[in-house]
């Protein structure tokens, strides 16, 4: 069974069409959840709107639990899934730079594309900025290369790095996420409302 395309159940020619369909739903959900609004996105850092946090963690939880149930029931093989490779320092430093970029620009790439679609000028500028960023990175690749290729740890999962049981991890992660949701509601009620 799944994943369908790597296992050859759906021919690879369908890849592009499926890509557009998946993107369509992705864009619709992001936009409808308010991710095309930079002030809503930035709200998570100031406590006046936790939509990002809620959407993000709910999605991660649903996906995690769903994938593991499908793996358990034999519909999909979790070992065949693409695991994002871990480059320790690349992830930390890259993530930190992205964090600054997120607060300064108010978007991340996916949401900026949504905002471009509905005509936000700041998002268009932001996308141009991302392209300039990619350009800078590529032109100065020799500078970033040690960081980009260094401290490679393979396509590892948390089970590989810490030897924890994935099921217990998901359980704890769920409780943690629900705790964060409750906390975020509490914080939000204390912070001065911002309207946008």
């Amino acid at each position: 069974m799944g994943p369908l395309i790597p296992n050859g159940i759906i021919p690879a020619d369908w890849d592009s069409i499926i890509a557009i369909l998946i993107g369509l739903v992705f864009g619709f959900v992001l936009e409808a959840s308010g991710f095309s609004s930079s002030r809503k996105l930035a709200g998570v850092f100031y406590g006046y709107d936790f939509a990002v946090l809620k959407v993000f963690f709910t999605a991660a939880l649903v996906a995690l639990i769903g994938l593991y149930y499908m793996d358990y029931l034999g519909y999909a093989d979790i070992n065949l899934m693409y695991v994002h490779p871990t480059y320790l320092w690349g992830a930390i430093i890259g993530g930190a730079i992205m964090g600054v970029g997120f607060v300064a620009g108010g978007f991340c790439p996916g949401t900026s594309i949504c905002a471009v679609a509905i005509g936000k000028v700041d998002a268009i500028v932001y996308v141009i900025g991302i392209m300039i960023g990619v350009l800078i990175f590529s032109e100065l690749f020799f500078l970033f290369q040690p960081l980009y290729e260094g401290s490679f740890m393979g396509n590892i999962t948390l089970m590989d790095s810490f030897g924890i049981n994935p099921y217990w991890f998901i359980f704890i992660f769920t409780i943690l996420a629900i705790g964060i949701f409750a906390l975020s509601d509490k914080i939000r009620s204390k912070v001065k409302k911002v309207f946008y």
Binding site: S33, G95, G110, G133, F142
Partner: protein, 176 residues
């Protein structure tokens, strides 16, 4: 002051509902294609294509561009590029249905549009740089990575939000 009756201009979905649908979509994507969602990849492909079109020899010399250029097929012929096209269409439909389409710059009333655009550009540059170093953005690395419990995904997620909260104070004027 009529703060009490003031509401946000747009009503969006309940975040849990959006998150639930997004989670289902991630499962579906993994089930069909065996990989996660992504967004910054398409921008990388665009940059590579543009550079390749302008100066082919330069692109072929650069160790980074070189990985994404193949002679027989354009680097725009890429899963993520198609997905991003889909995102554009999907967001346009959603925005159109709730009447959110229009040219505008969204910013805090305390700052000018110009300042907002300057910060957007700077933020974009930083994000583009960071996304290349970490090999993925919030959707590709953090969200899709977390769905399969990738260590790198969790580290990236913590780094993005951790730094975000740390530096948020310095940018507060832009948003609040």
């Amino acid at each position: 002051m009529k703060i009490k009756t003031q509401t946000n201009r747009h009503i969006y979905w309940n975040p849990y509902f959006g998150g639930f649908l997004l989670g289902i979509l991630i499962i579906f994507t993994f089930y069909i294609t065996g990989r996660g969602l992504g967004a910054s990849g398409a921008m990388k492909s665009s940059v590579v294509t543009i550079v390749d079109a302008v100066t082919h020899s330069h692109a072929a010399d650069n160790a980074y561009y070189k990985q994404f250029i193949s002679e027989d097929k354009s680097s725009m012929n890429n899963w993520l590029v198609f997905e991003t096209l889909g995102v554009l269409i999907g967001a346009f439909i959603s925005g159109g249905l709730s009447g959110r389409i229009g040219w505008r710059v969204q910013h805090s009333p305390k700052i000018t549009s110009k300042r907002r655009l300057a910060f957007a550009l700077g933020g974009g540059v930083l994000f583009g740089l960071g996304a290349q170093i970490a090999r993925g953005c919030t959707s590709g690395a953090a969200l899709s990575g977390m769905a399969v419990l990738s260590t790198g995904g969790f580290i990236t997620m913590l780094a993005i939000f951790g730094t975000g909260f740390l530096v948020a104070y310095f940018f507060r004027k832009n948003w609040i």
